[in-house]
Amino acid sequence: MSAAKNIPSRRAEWLLTLPSLGWLAVFFVAPALIVFLLAFKTADATGGVSAGWTLDNLRALADPQYRPILWRTFWISGTTTLICLVIALPVSFAMARAAPRWRNFLLLLIIIPFWTNFLIRVFAWKTLLQSDGLVSQLLDATRLFDESPTLLYNSGAVLLIMVYTQLPFAILPLYAAAERFDFTLMDAARDLGASGFRAFRSVFIPGISRGLGAAALIVFVATIGMYVVPDIVGGTDSEMIGNKIAQRAQGDRNLPLASALAAALLFCVLLLLILCSSAFRRSEKLDNALKGELQA
């Protein structure tokens, strides 16, 4: 890069770096450290934080009451991720194989619904799934059920609406990868006698594995900390860890216990990031995959 020699000084680098790095150090890294610190404090009965340190909060995490919540959180996030990938794969394939003028149009069609506010989209689903809503009426018309089933307030509803809100985040990175994929490879496989599905499975999917990784990571991490969806369409058996954190912080006057839960979640997320980024580094860096998504 010829221009690099024009501003080579160390001072210029710091001047350009400091505003953003400083901002994130103060408002992102420091708060994360405080979460870890506060997990070792105790709460008093009035909602304050008392002096002194303890391991009680971390021990409390081993309490059996959290097991169903943790299990459910992983189960719902994992299933959402899997469903999103399974749907996004053929979609990104179809989009990448479409004629160029169709591609951008399809991309726009995928993005447009998401200009609507997140909460309003959840609300729209609630209207559809309520007891006299459109979906229930359609189900009634099929006469498959004696009594129309309750569609809201269960983990199924949470799963459905999570898939709805996260699917674009799976489609975009997969499409970005599929667009760069060399489709002549697939044609070659078919010339060699592979069936369409076989070629898709053993040529296309490995070819876009980086996009798959990015999509899985983005969807999984976004759903693992979900609060809104289980809060609005979930029932008594759909509480996730995000809801528990909010309950501890806002209902139980126990910020340290909220921190301990948040610290556990943060630890999982960071671990996942480190694992993924080391996996990515072998081929290309994680940020490029994310950038690919953003540019798309």
Partner: protein
């Protein structure tokens, strides 16, 4: 860019003008017409933020939400707020309408001298149901055990109210500190939980209105509001006794506009305003001047005045200090169970 800056200045001066009164209260809790009248009379803007439980309100203040002028919490949490030195003493010289406050209600409150708080409403946590969907309903908390209502039922997402309902159904006090009684209440709730769709503090209003829910646990005034527009909704008062609560008006320490906050308290205590308010929000205001002006029909509504024998068995939720942990534990076990 210039337009943006102009917009920003307009916006910031609008939202943070000195004559803005910041009120923190429950949803649908002040007659909007009265708010407009007050804004006109005092040339100010009333900005209302809402909370859905006393604990959420308390957590928010504790986390540094200073800048509210007037808050409407329930009595038990006010005791705690006074202990924590979070409230300003009221200036009775600025509250000429204090004379309207019902003497009888005042006697039951911790702050009967109204040093920090003035009673605003009196309400109960009761049950509402759909007359068209639920047959043979009995006035009892045990209705929540009815399996034929499967998944069309909600309980409040407020541990004190909901554990309190279970304790009441067993004949215990809803302020009990007894571990055995709490364990029994937990088992009752775990059984009820199989029938309910959701623990919910606000959505039950729209839910019972639309027919999404057939039986809901909720606050009397809110349910009264639903009954006004929907004749299919009825209210039952469990005969084991209910939790009664008094919400009061308080001014937090550091309120930016305490003079205007006093004006609003005084305005809401006015007999005529109080009567208009009651008949809009559905909660009884303990205001003797106002009670003379409301219609008989309003007072006779089962969601407004509860039978005397049930009232005798009803209790007010108290702050339990360190023993609150026992309730949190039961609540966690219910939610995980």
């Amino acid at each position: 860019m210039k337009q943006l800056l102009v917009l920003l200045t307009l916006f910031t001066t609008g939202a943070f003008a000195a004559d803005t009164l910041h009120v923190f209260t429950w949803a649908d809790y002040i007659n909007p017409d009265l708010v407009k009248q007050f804004e006109k009379k005092h040339q100010c803007k009333v900005a209302i933020d809402t909370f859905d439980s006393n604990e959420a309100m308390y957590a928010r203040l504790k986390a540094g939400a200073s800048g509210y002028d007037l808050i409407f919490p329930s009595s038990y949490i006010i005791t705690l707020m006074v202990q924590q030195d979070m409230l300003q003493p009221l200036d009775h010289a600025q509250l000429s309408n204090l004379k309207n406050v019902e003497f009888e209600v005042l006697g039951k409150l911790a702050d009967s001298a109204m040093k920090h708080s003035v009673p605003y409403t009196f309400g109960y946590a009761v049950i509402a149901y759909r007359k068209d969907k639920v047959k043979d309903i009995e006035p009892s908390w045990k209705t929540f055990a009815r399996t034929d209502l499967k998944k069309r039922v909600t309980l409040l997402n407020d541990m004190r109210e909901t554990i309190g309902a279970a304790l009441k159904s067993l004949g215990y006090s809803l302020n009990t500190r007894d571990d055995k009684q709490l364990a029994a209440a937990r088992d009752v709730l775990i059984a009820w939980k199989k029938n309910i769709a959701k623990f919910d503090n606000e959505g039950y209003k729209a839910g019972v209105d639309s027919g999404e829910f057939n039986l809901v646990h909720g606050y009397s005034g809110d349910l009264w509001q639903v009954m006004q527009t929907n004749k299919k909704v009825g209210v039952i008062i469990p005969n084991e006794g209910v939790s009664a609560s008094c919400d009061e008006m308080v001014i937090p320490k550091g309120a930016p506009n305490p003079a205007l906050a006093h004006q609003l308290i005084n305005f809401l205590l006015d007999g005529k305003a109080s009567a208009e308010n009651m008949q809009n929000i559905g909660y009884l205001c303990p205001n003797s001047a106002g009670l003379k002006l409301v219609e008989k029909e309003f007072l006779n509504n089962p969601a407004v005045t509860i039978p005397a024998d049930v009232k005798a068995k009803s209790e007010v939720i108290q702050d339990l200090g360190d023993d609150l942990k026992k309730y949190t534990k039961v609540w966690d076990e219910v939610k995980a169970g």
